[in-house]
């Protein structure tokens, strides 16, 4: 069976393989082995509730095949964007330049550097093996995080964001970076991105110009990609919109990619999920549901056919129950796929 569970240090080779095969860039999941190891360690300590990392928790999940142990995907939740440091975005705003005397009325787009999203909860690190990309396992991988956030809501901010990778051209250059960041760093996007992974994004952000940026002064290519997702990220965007995320006014300071935002309680998964008692059966019929146990360190979510009634009990296929470590009478979180 394929389930979602917390990542473990021993998943490192599997995740590394997955990340290296992925076309999309994941600044939160570096390909560098040492950095990846640090992330996994941070995640384990977060699940374990280590007080030393309070405010910097990162919960990393993997999509894993319980039979052959293969790692098929990753997803993450960063409790508090910025992790104690300022979290940088540009806020796309507009100014009206008008004069009655001259009969002029112009709307000018402008980007303001902001820390407004610092401390929000950020979904991150989503990657999935190509062959599972358009399957229900994508939903399992992504939505398990929302189940987790709702089960343990005191650990997370109610304001949830997702940063979507911005547009890159065929040679990997970011038109937004070429027109903006590049002038201040004199390095290409890949190099800056590398530094922001191995050093810190905040450190790079602090080198960006602090003054607002008038959009009409950027190249037309750069203007065109502001708040546009990378082609590889379009699927994910569609999924997130369906889940209830909205396009925000914030864009990434490097590649101009969009930030989606939502109040956790408004998300489809949040409103549709229930916590009930498991009743095991070998002949469950009905619709596919995401079903998860309600434990932190041993959190596991799988897919099971079930019919959710009005009562407090839900029938669960035995195989699924075993995969997610649930016995008769245990409480489970469930939501229709």
């Amino acid at each position: 069976m394929i389930i979602v569970r917390p990542s473990r240090f021993s998943d490192l080779p599997g995740i590394e393989k997955l990340v290296n095969e992925s076309a999309a860039r994941l600044s939160t999941l570096p390909a560098d082995r040492e950095r990846l190891g640090e992330r996994l360690d941070l995640s384990s300590r977060s699940f374990a509730g280590d007080p030393e990392i309070a405010g910097k928790e990162l919960f990393l999940f993997v999509l894993a095949d319980t039979e052959n142990k293969e790692i098929l995907g990753t997803s993450g939740i960063e409790c508090s964007a910025g992790n104690g440091a300022p979290f940088y975005n540009y806020r796309l705003d507009e100014l009206i330049h008008s004069s009655q005397a001259l009969n002029v009325y112009n709307k000018v787009d402008i980007l303001y550097m902001t820390h407004e999203l610092t401390g929000t909860t950020r979904l991150c690190s989503l990657s999935i093996a190509n062959r599972y990309r358009n399957t229900e396992y994508f939903d399992l991988l992504s939505r398990s995080r929302i189940l987790f956030m709702n089960l343990f809501s005191e650990r997370f901010n109610t304001h949830v964001i997702v940063e979507i990778q911005g547009v890159q051209n065929s040679s990997g250059a970011s038109p937004f970076w070429e027109s903006l960041g590049r002038h201040f760093f004199q390095m290409d996007f890949a190099t800056a991105d590398y530094y922001s992974n191995v050093k810190s994004k905040t450190m790079i952000a602090e080198l960006m110009p602090p003054q607002p940026i008038y959009v009409p002064l950027l190249s037309s290519e750069a203007q065109a990609v502001i708040s546009q997702p990378h082609a590889e990220a379009e699927n994910n965007c569609r999924f997130l919109y369906k889940e209830g995320f909205k396009l925000s006014r914030y864009v990434d300071i490097f590649d101009g990619g969009p930030t989606l935002e939502a109040q956790r309680a408004d998300l489809l998964t949040s409103t549709a999920m229930h916590t009930k008692q498991a009743k095991l059966t070998d002949h469950a019929t009905g619709l596919n549901y995401l079903v998860g146990n309600t434990r932190v360190e041993d959190f596991r979510v799988g897919i099971s056919k079930t019919a959710e009634g009005l009562g407090d009990v839900v029938r669960l296929q035995s195989a699924a129950a075993e995969a997610i470590g649930v016995d008769e009478g245990d409480s489970i979180a469930c939501v229709a796929l």
Binding site: H97, F185, K199, M203, L207
Partner: protein, 347 residues
């Protein structure tokens, strides 16, 4: 004979003709008869001391006394930025550095500024094409310094000039197209005209208020910031020889440079000498051929300011010999004190 004097009502027709010759770029000479009439009126009231000195605008005319017509103008605005807000861009630097990343990037940045407020501007210099020879241009420009020399208390210590910025041969201003036009949607010509008819503050208020990072412009535009129009190069060189220097400010529309100097440092003021006039028969002949480096002679009058050129040979250590005719044109009597200075620095 060429004579500098305050402009008069009856110069209006001729001023309109001059303005239409000037075209785009001489912002302070709009082709608009009513406005030019207003300028003349304003100047006359300034010379008549009917205005507080800080609101004075003095418009000088260069007259060819042979045809009794004016052929050029120049002006002094006693203070800028008092009845409207005066804007410039200051060309500044933003440094972006990280030892750890080995980065040190200097980014030239434009800051909107009102720094020139309360300073004296020399402006509105224009000379008819057929008179752009001999000493006329220098005479027209530098006559203002002799006026300031005698009435320095009416002006600020800092004197500046906005030099016409670079534009392409067809009149397009790359700076305007890269900046102003993106915020207005209209052409430089129109902005220039609106400025001339007194709407500069309106336009300035539409300009971007936040600093502008210069690397956002194309290379050519970056290069012409602070550069004068090719036709303005001689005027810039002349002011530089008088002690003016680029002060790091540029015009918000065409990015032309501002040059400034301080009254005691302006060559034509510093080196000017007061001398007594003496009538001499010999003078007329010298006046008919002014030679290489004549002297500016002003009558030191405020309301009836007059200035002419004399041959260097007419100057003694503490006197200057003049013909009866020139003495009359300057409205002086023998023995009166005049202010003199060589038109150019000796080579």
């Amino acid at each position: 004979m060429m004579l500098i004097r305050p402009i008069r009502d009856d110069d209006l027709d001729r001023l309109v003709t001059l303005a239409s010759q000037a075209g785009v770029g001489v912002t302070t000479l709009p082709v608009n008869r009513d406005l030019l009439a207003q300028r003349i009126d304003e100047s006359q009231r300034a010379f008549a001391k009917e205005l507080p000195p800080e609101h004075a605008y003095y418009l000088f005319a260069l007259e060819d006394t042979g045809i009794q017509q004016i052929v050029g103008v120049s002006a002094i605005k006693a203070r800028v930025g008092l009845d409207e807000v005066w804007y410039n861009y200051r060309v500044s630097t933003t440094v972006n550095a990280s030892k750890e990343l080995g980065i040190h990037v200097q980014t030239p940045t434009l800051y909107l500024s009102n720094d020139m407020t309360n300073c004296t501007e020399i402006c509105t210099l224009f000379l008819a094409k057929e008179y752009r020879n001999g000493h006329n241009g220098r005479m027209l420009s530098k006559s203002r310094f002799l006026f300031i020399a005698d009435f320095a208390e009416l002006f600020s210590t800092k004197i500046f000039a906005e030099m016409r910025g670079y534009s392409e041969e067809d009149g397009h201003s790359p700076f305007w197209e890269n900046l102003g036009q993106r915020f207005f949607g209209f052409e430089f010509k129109k902005a220039d005209y609106l400025t001339g008819i007194g709407n500069k503050a309106f336009i300035a208020e539409l300009m971007p208020k936040y600093p502008i990072y210069i690397p956002f412009f194309d290379r050519h535009t970056q290069e012409i910031i602070g550069q004068v129009h090719p036709q303005t190069k001689p005027a810039l060189a002349m002011l530089e020889r008088e002690g003016f220097n680029y002060n790091g400010m540029v015009d918000i529309f065409d990015a032309g440079p501002l040059v400034e100097s301080f009254v005691p440092n302006i060559r034509a003021i510093r080196e000017s000498v007061k001398r007594h006039t003496m009538v001499s028969q010999q003078a007329a002949e010298l006046e008919s051929d002014l030679g290489d480096n004549p002297l500016l002679v002003s009558n030191r009058s405020f309301s009836d300011f007059r200035l002419a050129l004399v041959n260097a040979g007419q100057v003694r250590s503490d006197s200057v010999i003049l013909s009866e005719e020139l003495l009359g044109k300057l409205g002086l009597e023998s023995g009166d004190l005049v202010r003199t200075v060589p038109l150019r620095t000796p080579r």
